[in-house]
């Protein structure tokens, strides 16, 4: 699966026109222990880089932005009971939502793995 990244540390994996969204390992590490994920409602329409969800850790509350525009088709309900999954597997089981993409051309606005790693190195 193709994987892309945002400057706000979201990742997106594309599968047949639908995108899984989560936060990167770097973001999860920076946040510390995640205590709550405010999931979006399935069916909600989002625009690229608008607020998709909220995330709270023991030391911060942050917005999670939509890497792509589209309709939220599914959210990770498991995070309601176990938000710590985001820390345990941020780029896998800690996914936040699936978005049915409205415009695949938006992916050009995102970074690939190498570009993102380089970006993160620049932050440290």
């Amino acid at each position: 699966m193709d994987m892309y990244f945002t400057k706000e540390h979201e990742w997106v994996k594309i599968k047949e026109g639908t995108a899984a969204v989560g936060i990167t390992e770097y973001a999860a590490h920076q946040l510390g222990d995640v205590t709550f994920v405010e999931l979006p409602q399935a069916g909600k329409t989002v625009k690229q880089f608008d607020t998709l969800a909220g995330i709270e850790s023991v030391k911060a509350a942050s917005d999670i932005y939509a890497p792509v525009s589209g309709k939220v088709t599914e959210v990770n309900e498991a995070l309601n009971d176990r938000p710590e999954i985001v820390n345990e597997a941020p780029e896998d089981a800690g996914w936040i939502a699936w978005i049915e993409m409205a415009d695949t051309a938006e992916l050009a606005q995102l970074m690939n793995r190498e570009q993102y790693d380089e970006y993160v190195r620049g932050l440290e």
Partner: protein
Amino acid sequence: MSRAGYCPTTPEEERQMLDAIGVTSIDDLFRPIAPGLRAKSFDLPDGMSEFEMLRTFQELAAKNAQHLVTFVGGGYYDHLIPTVVDHLTGRAEFYTAYTPYQPECAQGTLQALFEYQTAICRLTGLDVANASLYDGGTALAEAALMALRVTGRRRLVIDGAVNPFHREIVRTYLANLDVELLEIPPKLGLEDDARLRAAIDGSVAAVLVQNPNFFGSVSDFRRLADEIHAAGGLLVVSTYPVSLGLVATPGEMGADIAVGDGQSLGNPLSFGGPSFGLIASRKEFIRNLPGRIIGETVDRHGERGFVLTLQAREQHIKRHKATSNICSNQSLCALRGLIFLSSLGRQGFAELARLNYDKAEYAKQALGRLSGVEVMNGGATFNEFTVCLPKDAAEVVAGLLRKGVAAGVPLGSYYPDMGHCLVVTVTEKRTREEIDTFVRQLEGALCN
């Protein structure tokens, strides 16, 4: 040495401080403020000795009417406060602590608040309660905001029979938000909720009601709850805590959020405050409850401990994303509420409610028998009720004040077409003799 007990610095100390920051006089500090905007004088009297000051304030206090037999309610109530409430609340461990910013150092305060939350849940019949808000009015406004957040809708319906002060606070909270507040005027004697149910549609975030309402009427809001739920909105019930010893709880009626003013639980009447606001909700809304929530946990040794579990408020991690601007609570007043409830116990609290009900029923019937006096409530009331008099109610109240009786809350100021109406409140503190005297005095006032 200080110049006087209340002047903390000597001229020498002031000089040293001014020298340190490089100015010659205190006036220099105010120089950036344009001369025309500076206060010419604070018009403060000269200093007094402690004895003179006490006498001055005693003389001022003596201008108030004292030792009134009060039948005034309308939000604040003259209830008996067991001595244990003052005694325990006055303990230094509770009395001097402001707020547990270092929770691990304030286990006693946290445990007390945890127990308080438990008591409020039991009282309201709901799942979760916070550690208190400022008062009943702000609690209602916070509940309104909560309903907007939970539903994502922008319309609210509020019953005109909700305490007018609380409605004003709700209006103030919502004034600069893009929210429509629909107020449904009350009809005295028509205590059914058809007026409210007719206002419900799929755009309404919540219906805000009060039980018993400002006129003293007790309603059954179960049908209203069903209909607002069917429309995808919430039911917010503002409640008078003492009534819950007898009346069905907001939880039993299907309310999603319950609020109320805690003054009636062990807090004295004191020019309207301080008091505390209680708020409780269904568990699924816990993340949207304003303020702080104390939780119970165990430490690494398995010892029971208490922590600020949910404190996602503006002073902490949420900052501008906080659900509310409320950043404190009314710990000490809430503690009084907890001690009050604990000292009465479940049975004692039910008896207290019963006494309030029975005494008010006695007064209601006696007043209702007076010529020209009409009891306006259609159905059940708790410890207050509304009578319509053949004269202006405010004038009658003023007349009876001179006889040592505070007869109630005249409604003309709040409901312009109800100038002849009076809300009369009877708590457990009123004796039969006092009630009988009041009835005779009111009869006399109406004859003159």
